[in-house]
């Protein structure tokens, strides 16, 4: 149970609470406040994974988001997640972590053979090798690459967790709670601004937690705690830890990923796992800090090699030693702080400093503490396979390109520091073109495109004093512009160590005849030689080098590799880094879960569900529903063991023989009012509308300006200046926008108003030869005779005491009526109809029967009005007025619309009168013709004609009007069917339309 690398006292973890977990099946423990990484290191475990390409042993390198190696498959709270960053994931009781990308185990990985075959795996290997022979791709290469590539395994289980989205608005969003972030947030909060402070880590304070500094005589950590508790007490401030602002989008919209409960052992049922915040900020402070970059040397990926600041963080935050015989390899002063921290914990480090002997505050302190410092020295190559055992170190000559002396020293870890890279990702995402800052060998934000301001280390200011000053000033100024209040804040006294200049040194040379791998990008296994090959092969643009070598393309987005890669390219190309440029930073800054992106929009909540007022009745009566947009419509009402085919046939037949009722609530309904309503309709529809009498309905056809049919439906004149328009269910929203467009923009002089009343009316169609008899029972006091209520007539009457509208219109081709009542009365109407209709054999019918009825009548619907047909294509040219102008009229004169062989709607019946024709079938002359077989048309709608008891289809055919009587094949390669068909008229039943008028 002992943890050999845990310090006795240090750290911010809770030593009173032990947490047990397993790693690769082995039971271990850590403390509350540990990450998986700190707990494993405390247990002396460094080998956690295998690298992507060569399957080399890999350990931890960082202590936070910068980690390129330690990605684990983690199971906790009942789910399994791949690619979890071990340096970020907090330890929870019962967590189980396993290594990825290794088989059969991380200790013995067969893929490591790639490491010995590495001469065969250079940059561009995949592009070069798997090109030939072509036939090998599907069966050999692709499955092999699939198995070898990728890291973890995505779970196939349904995610039971809850994820949420939140929309927030603020005056100032501060991203990062280091010294500059805290001071910005504090100053803005004091000015009364609405502030959100986001911190990625569980603990606030950033570098204040690990740097040896004091502010107003408080330690950095205590000062951070004081500020945070004050901020938390202010009502205008939201303080969030475990929250990563990962994306900067247009108009100052930032997106934040909050890990709400992953660290909790128990949580309430409704606590989400993670939350996505959409934050619209008036101003943004980017206090994202900086990330240490490595120095490149031989076998620099061996487990036990750390960034020096990470080693310090493990000691100071987690009370964990990354090794007991450390080598510190640096080109700057900051690593001396790590060395001093080791020394404080009674561990003797050796410092290898690439700079020549000189002095600075930190160097002097290290010397006075008796630390072994070797100037002009560096690590050439790390020895050890699964863990660092020793290092070959060298004394550099004056030009730093060869060695004066080489020796081997024993060590169990190497802490490397190649200076600091500002985290400019969010600034870059916001559109800020970065500029190269020679002083720090890195990019910092330049001119802003949005309301963002980078402060502190993110802006290249690496001292505490500057960061605080920067933060207070910017926080205060930016917020004062918004709140018009300025509270003076005294800038605190700071005590920090002064750093000397860093060495512009980033890659160790190699002695002659030695060629160990020197990695630039750990996560994607890109080495110095890979980049050299890419350049040798002629890749020049950094964006091309990136794609060819995959440098910086892994989930860590090259946080530790980008600048070293750029340095290498600029050295070889003899250019300076700003000329080489940098690659694009894209969101997300760190990987986020798909669950968070989806949020609550899953299952039933994926789309809103629209139900008609009669929905419950349909449910109770065994309706099988079909989605029509967001609507649920009964497709058929199942009786006994009926199939869809049997039920729809029964329902349709009953309409033809008796009477049926259908829920037509979902049809779009638009109320049109105003003195110019008739003129407006006259322009919108292709047919004439000026003379429609009050109390009459008319069928209308609407075109787009390009002449294509947009929608059809009936419109009824309710009173002098009041019309009721119906649209198809699918086009309801488009038609409303279309009408609004013309009224608001094109013809604002027309005095007309339109509003959707789809939700206000419940509708039921009564169709069939007995529908009039039924209607007379529903309206005993009303004259419903053919004379009093003729085809296309309209009446208003009370339906058993509730107001209703009666339209004599028909979609089924039978004698039919549509009754509308207010939605609240919909169920009442429906139940009354079922009751009264019994004696007439009334049955409800669904959309499938409805389709059958309209298809055999040759009535067109969505499948025919498919955005490609003009009125004459669907035999509706009779509705196109020659006398007046309307939307789309000018386009109908187009040459292509008027050729003799223009497509036209036809009917099809199978020669055998038995085989049903699949919708979407292509019509061809010769089913055995050589491909590509010329296509003469397509089948748009199919049904079983209940009237003639055989299959019938509608089709759009080239030169349709001259095809009647000819025979073709309807072929559906999808269904593997080919059916011989005969072309007939599209009006299969009652072609004269006698029934609707009867």
């Amino acid at each position: 149970m002992s943890q050999p690398f845990r310090l006795n006292k240090e750290g911010l973890i809770n030593r009173n609470k032990k947490i047990s977990f397993t790693f690769n099946g082995k039971k271990l423990f850590g403390y509350e406040g540990d990450t998986i990484a700190s707990a494993l290191i405390a247990n002396g475990i460094h080998l956690v994974g295998r690298s992507f390409k060569y399957h080399r042993p890999r350990g931890f390198f960082g202590a936070g988001v910068e980690e390129p190696n330690a990605k684990l498959q983690v199971e906790f709270n009942g789910h399994s997640e791949p690619n979890v960053n071990a340096t970020e994931m907090e330890l929870v009781e019962g967590l189980s972590a396993t290594s990825q990308n290794c088989w059969p185990s991380v200790n013995f990985d067969i893929g490591a053979i790639n490491n010995f075959l590495k001469m065969f795996f250079p940059a561009g290997f995949y592009y070069k090798t798997f090109m030939w022979p072509k036939s090998f791709w599907y069966k050999i290469y692709e499955p092999f690459i699939r198995k070898a590539a990728g890291l973890g395994v995505a779970s196939i289980e349904k995610d039971k967790e809850r994820y949420e989205h939140k929309f927030e608005y603020c005056d100032l969003l501060v991203t990062g709670s280091g010294p500059s972030g805290l001071s910005s947030a504090y100053a803005a909060a004091k000015n009364g601004a609405k502030v959100i402070l986001a911190e990625d880590k569980p603990r606030f304070g950033g570098t204040l937690l690990t740097d040896d500094v004091s502010i107003d005589n408080l330690s950095g950590k205590d000062w951070a705690e004081k500020i945070i508790s004050e901020l938390k007490s202010m009502p205008n401030v939201t303080v969030k830890n475990r929250s990563q602002v990962f994306g900067y989008y247009d108009h100052n919209m930032l997106v934040m990923f909050e890990r709400v409960s992953d660290h909790l052992e128990k949580k309430s049922k409704f606590t989400p796992r993670q939350r996505l915040w959409y934050i619209r900020a008036k101003e943004t402070i980017l206090s994202t800090g900086s990330i240490e970059r490595p120095i490149v040397f031989g076998n620099n990926d061996t487990p036990g090699i750390f960034l020096s600041a990470a080693a310090k963080e493990y000691m100071k935050v987690y009370g964990v030693l990354v090794g007991k015989k450390p080598l510190i390899f640096t080109n700057n002063d900051s690593a001396y702080e790590t060395a001093l921290e080791f020394k404080k914990n009674n561990v003797e480090p050796i410092i290898l400093d690439t700079r020549e002997e000189h002095s600075s505050e930190l160097i002097d302190e290290a010397k006075s503490k008796g630390i072994d410092i070797r100037f002009s020295h560096g690590v050439i190559v790390a020895n050890g396979y699964k863990k660092v055992k020793s290092a070959k170190i060298g004394k550099l000559n004056k030009d730093k390109n060869s060695f004066e002396k080489i020796e081997t020293v024993e060590c169990d870890c190497i802490c490397v520091s190649g200076f600091w890279t500002p985290s400019v990702h969010l600034a870059s995402q916001s559109g800020n073109k970065l500029k190269y800052e020679e002083k720090i060998d890195a990019f910092i934000p330049d001119k802003k495109k949005q309301h963002e301001t980078s402060v502190g280390a993110a802006n290249g200011s690496f001292t505490l004093e500057e960061s605080l000053k920067n933060g207070f000033e910017n926080g205060s100024n930016l917020s004062a512009k918004i709140t018009d209040t300025k509270t003076e804040i005294a800038i605190p006294n700071v005590n920090e160590k002064k750093y000397g200049a860093h060495d512009k040194f980033w890659c160790m040379p190699l002695p002659k005849n030695e060629n160990p791998k020197r990695f630039v990008d750990f996560q994607n296994d890109v080495s110095v030689s890979d980049i050299e090959i890419a350049l040798r092969e002629g890749y020049r643009s950094i964006e091309h080098v990136k794609r060819y070598t995959t440098l910086g393309m892994a989930t860590d987005q090259g946080r530790t590799s980008n600048l070293n890669g750029l340095q290498l390219v600029s050295n070889i190309e003899n250019k300076i880094v700003p000329e080489v440029g940098h690659t694009t930073f894209r969101p997300p800054f760190t990987p986020i879960t798909i669950g968070t992106i989806v949020g609550r929009e899953v299952g039933m909540e994926y789309l809103p569900t629209r139900k008609t007022p009669m929905h419950e009745w349909h449910e109770k009566n065994n309706a099988v529903f079909v989605d029509a947009g967001a609507w649920k419509r009964p497709r058929y009402y199942k009786e006994g063991n009926e199939t869809l085919f049997e039920a729809s046939k029964r329902e349709a037949k009953n309409v033809r023989e008796n009477v049926g009722i259908c829920d037509v609530t979902t049809l779009g309904k638009i109320d049109i009012k105003g003195p110019d309503a008739a003129e407006f309709l006259n322009r919108v529809y292709t047919n004439a509308w000026m003379k429609l009498p009050i109390g009459k309905a008319r069928y209308g056809l609407m075109l787009r300006e390009d002449g294509i049919v947009m929608d059809d439906g009936t419109t009824t004149r309710i009173s002098e200046n009041h019309y009721h328009m119906t649209t198809t269910t699918a086009q309801a929203a488009n038609v409303l926008s279309h009408l609004e467009y013309y009224l608001q923009i094109v013809w604002p002089e027309l005095n007309v108003n339109v509003v959707s009343t789809t939700e206000q009316w419940a509708g039921a169609a009564i169709a069939g030869p007995k529908s009039r008899d039924m209607l007379s029972k529903l309206y005993p006091d009303l004259d419903v005779s053919n004379e009093a209520l003729p085809f296309m007539g309209y009446k208003e009457a009370e339906f058993f005491g509730v107001p209703s509208r009666i339209f004599r219109i028909s979609f089924s081709g039978e004698l039919a009526y549509e009754i509308n009542v207010k939605s609240d009365h919909g169920m009442f109407m429906w139940e009354k109809m079922m009751e009264v209709g019994k004696e007439f054999g009334n049955q409800p019918y669904g959309t499938e029967a409805l389709s059958t009825l309209r298809i055999e009548m040759g009535h067109v619907a969505g499948p025919e009005l498919d955005g490609r047909t003009i009125p004459s294509d669907v035999s509706l040219n009779g509705l196109v007025s020659k006398k007046k102008d309307f939307i789309g009229k000018n386009s109908l004169g187009r040459e292509a619309f008027n050729v003799e062989s223009r497509q036209k709607i036809v009917g099809l019946i199978p020669i055998d009168r038995k085989s049903s024709i699949p919708e979407g079938s292509h019509i061809v002359q010769d089913q055995n013709a050589k491909l590509p077989n010329p296509k003469l048309g397509h089948v748009s709608s199919s049904c079983w004609s209940v009237e003639n008891n055989n299959p019938f289809s509608l089709a759009i055919m080239k030169d349709g009007k001259n095809m009647i009587g000819k025979k073709f094949f309807a072929v559906s390669p999808l269904k593997n069917k080919s059916i011989e068909v005969e072309v007939i008229s599209s009006h299969y039943v009652d072609p004269e339309g006698k029934r609707v008028r009867s």
């Binding site: 619209r280 609004e740 467009y741 604002p748 102008d885 309307f886 000018n890 386009s891 004169g893």
Partner: protein
């Protein structure tokens, strides 16, 4: 996500709007003769400028008004919004 100032409702998220194309296109007058070329230009031909562009948007999940938005097509910066009856200079 864009932040669009509806002249009727104020600043609202892009989610509430739907895009409606070039606002400078003018439909030929109804009931008037129009040349084939003018008609074709109206129906089919659109400029796709890089930079400032006046477009139509409809506040579909709000007041349902069509509005004019002057936007930079490259940077998405919005310079001005107006009612459709107003001019954008």
């Amino acid at each position: 996500m864009l932040y669009i100032k509806c002249p009727y409702c104020g600043l609202r998220a892009q989610k509430e709007f739907s895009y409606g194309g070039d606002a400078t296109v003018k439909r030929p007058n109804i009931n008037e003769e129009v040349s084939t070329e003018d008609w074709d230009n109206f129906v089919y031909m659109r400029k796709s400028p890089r930079g400032k562009h006046v477009e139509l948007w409809q506040h579909i999940a709000g007041c349902r008004q069509w509005i004019k938005v002057q936007r930079d097509t490259a940077t998405h910066e919005i310079f001005q919004t107006a009612k459709v009856t107003e001019e954008i200079r």
